[in-house]
Every structure is written in C-alpha cells, then in structure tokens.
Symmetry: C2
C-alpha cells in the first residue's frame, strides 16, 4: 500500500514534468524555426526554455509540496488544541459532518463516544473528514521537485534533438514534429492506461495539445517575421 502510494506520486510527478517538457520546448522550437534561418538560435532558445521551465516547475513543485506539509502540520496542531480547549464545539462539528449525510445526532453519538476514547484518532478523523486533508508523505518535496525537473528536461530534449543533429532547419522541424507527436501519443496512451481514462483518447488529447501549441507558436512567429 505504501509502495503503491509512493509510485503513484512519482508517476504523477513524471507526468507533470513530461507533459509540459514535451509540449512547450517543442512548440517554441517549431515556432522559431518558422521565422529563423538557422537552427543555432532555435537550439539556444530551446535549451534556455528547458532550463527555465524545469527550474520553475521543479522549485515550484518543491515549495508547493513543502507548503502542503506545513499546512497539514499547522492544522493538526490547531485541531489537537481545539479538541482539548473547545471540546464542545468539536463535538458539535462531528454531528454537523454526519448531518450532511442525513445521519441523525442519535446515530452519530456512538461514533463520537468512540472517538473521545482516543484523542489522536479523533484528531485524525477531523483532519480527514472536517478539513478534507490527507497527511502528505514526508520528504516528498525534494523528490517531487527533482522528479518533475528531470522529467521536464528529458521531455524537452526530444523535440530539440533534431535541431542539434540535422543541419537543414526545415528538415529538423519536420523530424522534430514526427518524433515529438509520436512521443506525445505514446506518453498520452500510457498516462491514459494508468489513470484509467482510455489510452486512445488520452493519446489524441496530448497530441492535440502539443499540435495546437506548436501551430500557434509557428503562426505567431511567421506573423512577426514574415520575410524569413
């Protein structure tokens, strides 16, 4: 169960990093290739975007995860105090939770009795059922940040590789489109399998996002540099 949860969190981080990493550098490079004569600046801009995007997403993910941990700890301390200092109010909150599900006070009373026997279980119950908070995995922040950033870099290198390896920029663009749309389709299909929302549908969706983003960036760059 623990292993299952951890792998799920890691998979989610990889998905977050890969989906933006495959899409944005791809679209940026495709856009610039429509307006520039040489691959050199496409590669430069693509790598700078990968550096910026991976750090923004990784550090952002780190701080978000750390914020979640701190928020959970602070709310837990507050609940721990409240069941001691404002016992009656907290009891009333239990009744209110059950009232939302049409459970009368008299039927909820035995649950409250049991929770009062075990203050730490009571606090956990309030965290989950009053506040809707799940305890974050410890040390998740570091791992999450690194996983997202590395997935972004890995994803971003796929669309950029052709511009590094193929001299002719039009050929590089074509190759980049082919391998990136394939990578997006495979990535979307696997994501759909894991999440259970259908592999074909997810594959089409991720390809669509990448295609629309690249198309928009390309058109914009052509409009701004019509003589390229």
């Amino acid at each position: 169960m623990e292993g299952h949860f951890e792998s799920t969190a890691a998979v989610r981080d990889i998905v977050i990093g890969l989906s933006d990493g495959l899409t944005v550098p791809f679209a940026l490079a495709a856009g610039l290739s429509g307006a520039l004569a040489s691959s050199r600046i496409v590669v430069l801009a693509g790598l700078a975007e990968i550096a910026a995007g991976s750090i923004a997403m990784g550090l952002g993910g780190y701080l978000a995860a750390r914020g979640d941990s701190e928020h959970y700890a602070a709310e837990k301390r507050r609940e721990e105090l409240e069941i001691v200092e404002r016992t009656r109010d907290e009891e009333e909150e239990i009744y209110e939770i059950f009232q939302k599900y049409s459970v009368p006070r008299s039927n909820a009373a035995p649950v409250l009795e049991a929770l009062k026997q075990n203050p730490s279980a009571w606090v956990d119950f309030m965290m989950r059922f009053e506040l809707g908070l799940e305890e974050p995995e410890p040390n998740r922040a570091h791992r999450s940040a690194l996983t997202i950033a590395l997935a972004y870099v890995a994803g971003g290198m796929i669309p950029l590789a052709p511009y590094m390896l193929v001299v002719d920029i039009k050929q590089a663009l074509l190759l980049s489109i082919i391998i990136t749309l394939m990578a997006l389709a495979i990535f979307g299909a696997i994501k759909g399998k894991i999440v259970g929302t259908g592999w074909l549908r997810n594959a089409i969706q991720t390809v669509l996002i990448g295609g629309v983003a690249a198309g928009a960036a390309y058109l914009l760059a052509r409009l701004l540099e019509p003589h390229a």
Copy 2:
C-alpha cells in the same frame, strides 16, 4: 459559500497561470539577452513561448478539470450500483472506514443504519470518505482553462515589455529584471496573504524561483554563445 468557493477556484487558476507566466518568459528572455545582440529575437522567442505555454497550460488545465469531472461521475455510478448489488461489501467498507479511527463496529452500526435509510446520502458518504473525492464544480473546465491561459499571457507580457520598448538590449534586460522581480514579489506577497502562509516568505520564494530560473537560463546561454 458558493461565491467563496468559486472565487477561490478562480484565484487558484490565476495563481497557476501568473506564476509560470511571470517566471518562464522572464527567464527565457533574460537568458537569450545574454547571448544575442538584438532584442528582436528575444521578443520573438518570448512571444512564441507565451503562446506555447499559455495553450499548453490552458488546454492541459481544461482536460485535467474535465477528466476530474468524468472520473467523479464514473466512480459515483459505480458506487450507486455497488450499494445495490454488493450491499454487504459496501456495509463492510463503512466499518473499515471507521476502524481506521479506532471506532468499533458496534459504535459505527447506527451510522450505517441511518445511511441505509437514504441511499443517495450513502453514495455521497462513500464518495467522500471511502474514495476521498469532492464533487467538481460544473463547467469549471472551460473557465479554468481560459483563466489560466489569460493569466499566463498577462504574466508573460510584463518581462517582455521592456524588450519591445527599449532599443538597447542590456538596458531592456535590466529593466525587465527590475519590473519582473517587483511583480513576482507583489504576486508572491498577495498569494501568501490569501493562502495564509505569510506574505514576506512567499514574496521571497517567488522572487527566488524567478531569479534562479533566469540566472540558470542566462548562464546556459552565455556558455553556448560565449562570444556574444
């Protein structure tokens, strides 16, 4: 309550779009300005990145929100079937939920009795307390997508504006750094106020992310184009 929830969701979308929109185009433009002699390509790359990033985040947000809605609806249908077809198993699951909080079967039984009187409340209870799912707001997907994308564009135009208005690229870079770090500080402070994690600390964090991302992109671009 309803108004409060909706504004929270919109604020969250604006925060998502603004934080990446302020950071990534800023870092990309700063990075390229270290390696290129003219602002023209910095602006071109920045605008292409804004197009790509806003579409990737907006469409991505749209599909994620729609996926959440569909996932909720599918799980709800499954629970509705299960309380009819596998009533005993579902009853057992109620006991298991309470067991996690050291509530004995005998104390949980009256709650189960009450839920059985009201099947739709029973389903809602399972959705929230077995599966941990909250009902997504209807039509959230479209609004979410548009809000995230527009916030990304608005955020991205701040760091790019100096490169459009100031001819000298070094001056444009300096101006972009000043106004973007100020915007990041203000944005972080407001975010910290809203989330309640401290305005100063959040202001420092968002400035740090933007600064590190821009610094890394700048160094990378200088390494790749040392003679610029």
